[in-house]
Symmetry: C2
């Protein structure tokens, strides 16, 4: 079995693409005026964690481990701040033990034992949270903390090829899911940037965003039913293609982030593998022109599988376009029919709407054809986390910030975010924006910030300052505190400004009904201490 | 102002289409072997209601009325059972008074007064519930009941033409909404069969099904944000095109059926009015072949605006097809581009999949073109309630039953429903099925039953028997207790079998947080007496 890094992204036998790394190093060197120096990553034998406060329940000990490396690997997520701490071996809030349930019955028994022992439970899928979702901090009022690693629940439980639906266990990762479906000619076609590690259960718990930039943007749209293990018992919703029977039960768990229970499996909608593709890239003189073109495409009623607008800095960083230009990437795909005609309609809409358009600068339309620019973009997208780790080791601060907002407020929000970053006086830095998902009534802008990290703490404090400035600007400008990165523990203060107070009361009451002792992922969605 | 009938559908100055009525009378006559005799509808002066138990609060008396006709009009919904009782002036559970708030502040004050006086509140939109949703029965433990008629909250509060979104008050009816949007070239394009009377707030509260047979099938998909007046205060969710911030707040209120609070307005997504249409009808020897063709179209990734399968009886009753044939109706529409190509792809998929297909038997594709068969179908669809009232007056039992189910279970569910009806031994009757909405993973079959009504009670008891038999068969076969007709009070026993028990606990806990005294629409979603 491949070993996962305890301090950084992914697997020990995998790493950043050397050519991509060299290119980024050159960009960063030019930005900082010096070649970055690489710090050595930590090694497991140097780990010195606080002693566990509690041990695994004896009758479940065979499912549990408390080695320093396992505890460290489950202590933090994978935000920049997490890496900056992990590289310096700061695992102060590591869980006391890690449990690896092998069945949903194991999950139920682990929850029962935790409730009996006043042990907080932190569900752990791929551990890729960038919002503090798996970090057991601020839980001193509990007897201890168990990290519930779902990775052994990764089976295909059932497949309905008539309805194109599959029942999959929650701990299955992106590649595991695709490997289970591929022999049947099917795919879930859900590719968050964390695809390599993150899991179906994690996606559902955090309302993750996937492959499709329009239409079914969130995993929400793929979920047919869920099975959830709560401290008070199990909830299994009915498999249905649609319903109007009361508030949708699965929607209570979509976005619940482990605070109500542990998702153990789900029926999800799957697709036949696409065989027809058409893709094109259009360049625009400004980001505003590109987003106006994007809006026009969405409001035309077309639903491209990919529809992303890149500002000039983002386009430069991704290597996808001509210097100084903003870009619009459009793609259609189908397992049934050629999509060239749909792409032509979308291009016509885009070119008619975006002032100064030049394009398509590239396009491919043959079945099975690829767009080189989009391939570059996609490959760098999925391998970016490995590259990011290398940058962190070189003292480069790199983090992303995302939201969604209605079209009428996009320009003001974008200006506010840029102004908030400018006020931080970060010295030489890059701030890039791309629109990752789009809707007829709005879109999801996604910012990447690159800057030198302070030597002292590798930028842990800086991370808090930037997060507060950017997320504050976003929420003040009418955006959501997260479009697809979740709330976790890190975003709670801004989520509280977005979330109606009485709605918080209602959800907390629902939580008490399912988790009377408040052991499920405390500190997430609600401040630690809220019961 | 047009007067609404207190005993039947719609407006006093409107009625069934005489030609449609004559045709149906002939069909019914042939079925029953006799010409039906029309009973005279009741008149208001004959109304003898129980005396009100409570009066409106004096400081809100100017918003309230307690005339027998108003109380009668708010006593029942518009199911067959409701009509059978209304025609015989059985308004035993009429509300004690009816309130007509003019602003959201009025709503808040009325709720406050009701809570103080232990008066149950039944929110009332168009009053078109076919599930007992507006019927204040079983509420003897309250001091009284107020029916909260939202019809005066019907304004357009805001319009965002950049994001194509409109903020509309909850009491606006279908035609009122379209009249508000039409001057701006916009439409909500949401046409439930109750369109003439039902309201935005009612649609949201009941997760109504609309115009589109695929894609945005439910009003859920059109809601950007909601404002809800609860006994404990007001909840206003943020306008967002998409979000991943915790459980979606608007989803708690979608389907809440007035049990958590009163929706006072909502931001909804609107569309430019379509200018391109293409429509076609294909005939099949069997309903199964038609539904297989429908499934193939949906799983091809195409999303027609209309995609309905009609069994031979349904096709005959609607007058839309050749005798003995099942039909598949397909239509595409757009405000942006011609859709002939999309229709051609869908037809190709349908014809290749459905054994014995003949067709298209009709098709039109020019911009602004109409398909005569579909026009007949749509006109009869929206005016059907007036026709239905005439049938009730003639002693004809006519009711509809609907669900949604995954494709793999469709044939078994359909057989079970037909067997359940056959076991009831209704004598000469018609049972027709159409699929009203379709998804890649399932569809929504919708049954219409026509039979002679017993003279004694006009079929009130029979209604209960058929409802139990059909809904029981549906839920046992894996269907949902309702796809778009809501749960109300009538469907609670079967909803309880579908709804996970712990989920019920969670929602009930949320209800207590918003409505501590349990005054909001008691008996709906939960049995009367559940607090």
């Amino acid at each position: 079995m491949r070993r996962r890094r305890f301090w950084g992204w992914g697997f020990e036998d995998e790493g950043a693409d050397p050519r991509a790394l060299a290119a980024v190093e050159a960009q960063i060197g030019a930005l900082l005026g010096r070649s970055p120096v690489r710090r050595e990553p930590p090694v497991a034998r140097d780990l010195a964690l606080p002693a566990p406060r509690v041990a695994a329940p004896p009758r479940l000990a065979h499912l549990c481990t408390a080695t320093p490396e396992e505890r460290a690997r489950h202590a933090l997520g994978r935000s920049y701040k997490d890496l900056a701490r992990a590289i310096r071996c700061r695992f102060d809030d590591a869980p006391d033990y890690v449990a690896y349930p092998e069945t949903s019955d194991d999950v139920a028994r682990l929850l029962e034992a935790a409730a009996a022992g006043a042990v907080a439970v932190v569900p752990f899928g791929g551990g890729t949270s960038v919002a503090g979702g798996v970090e057991p901090r601020g839980l001193g009022s509990y007897a201890g903390v168990v990290s519930l690693d779902m990775s052994k629940l990764s089976r295909l439980l059932d497949l309905d090829t008539t309805s194109l639906s599959a029942r999959i266990e929650a701990g299955a990762s992106g590649p595991e899911i695709e490997a289970l479906l591929k022999p049947h000619g099917l795919t879930l076609r859900f590719y968050p940037q964390s695809f390599e590690l993150s899991t179906l259960g994690g996606w559902i718990a955090t309302r993750a965003g996937g492959h499709f930039a329009t239409g079914p943007t969130h995993v929400d749209d793929l979920v047919e039913s869920v099975r959830v293990s709560c401290p008070r018992g199990t909830i299994e919703t009915r498999r249905l293609p649609g319903s109007g029977a009361g508030p949708a039960p699965e929607r209570l768990f979509l976005g619940s982030e482990g605070t109500l229970g542990v998702i153990t499996d789900a029926w999800v909608r799957v697709l036949r593998r696409p065989t027809h593709r058409a893709q094109a890239t259009v360049s625009f003189p400004t980001f505003e022109a590109a987003t106006t073109a994007l809006r026009t495409v969405l409001q035309s009623g077309l639903s491209p599988s990919n529809a992303r607008a890149l500002d000039p800095v983002e386009a430069m960083m991704s290597g996808a376009g001509p210097a100084g230009a903003a870009l619009l990437l459009l793609a259609f795909e189908s397992a049934h029919h050629p999509v060239d005609g749909l792409l032509a309609l979308a291009l016509e809409a885009a070119l008619s709407a975006g002032a100064g358009a030049a394009g398509p600068v590239r396009s491919t339309s043959a079945d099975g054809g690829r767009d080189a620019a989009q391939d570059v973009y996609k490959a760098s997208f999925l391998r970016a986390p490995y590259l990011r780790d290398e940058l962190v080791l070189r003292g480069v601060f790199v983090e992303t910030y995302e939201t969604a907002v209605t079209w009428d407020r996009l320009a003001a929000l974008d200006a506010d975010v840029r102004a908030a970053v400018a006020r931080l006086d970060l010295g030489p830095h890059l701030l890039a924006c791309r629109v990752t998902h789009a809707y007829p009534n709005g879109c999801a802008p996604y910012y990447t910030l690159v800057a030198p990290a302070p030597e002292a703490d590798l930028g842990v404090e800086m991370w808090d300052d930037v997060k507060a400035a950017v997320t504050g600007a976003i929420v003040d400008a009418g955006g959501t505190s997260t479009h697809h990165h979740a709330i976790g523990r890190d975003v709670v203060p801004w989520y509280e400004r977005e979330r109606p107070a009485l709605f918080a009361d209602a959800i907390l009451a629902a939580k008490r009904a399912l988790d009377p002792r408040g052991i499920m992922n405390p500190g997430v969605l609600f401040r630690a201490g809220t019961r």
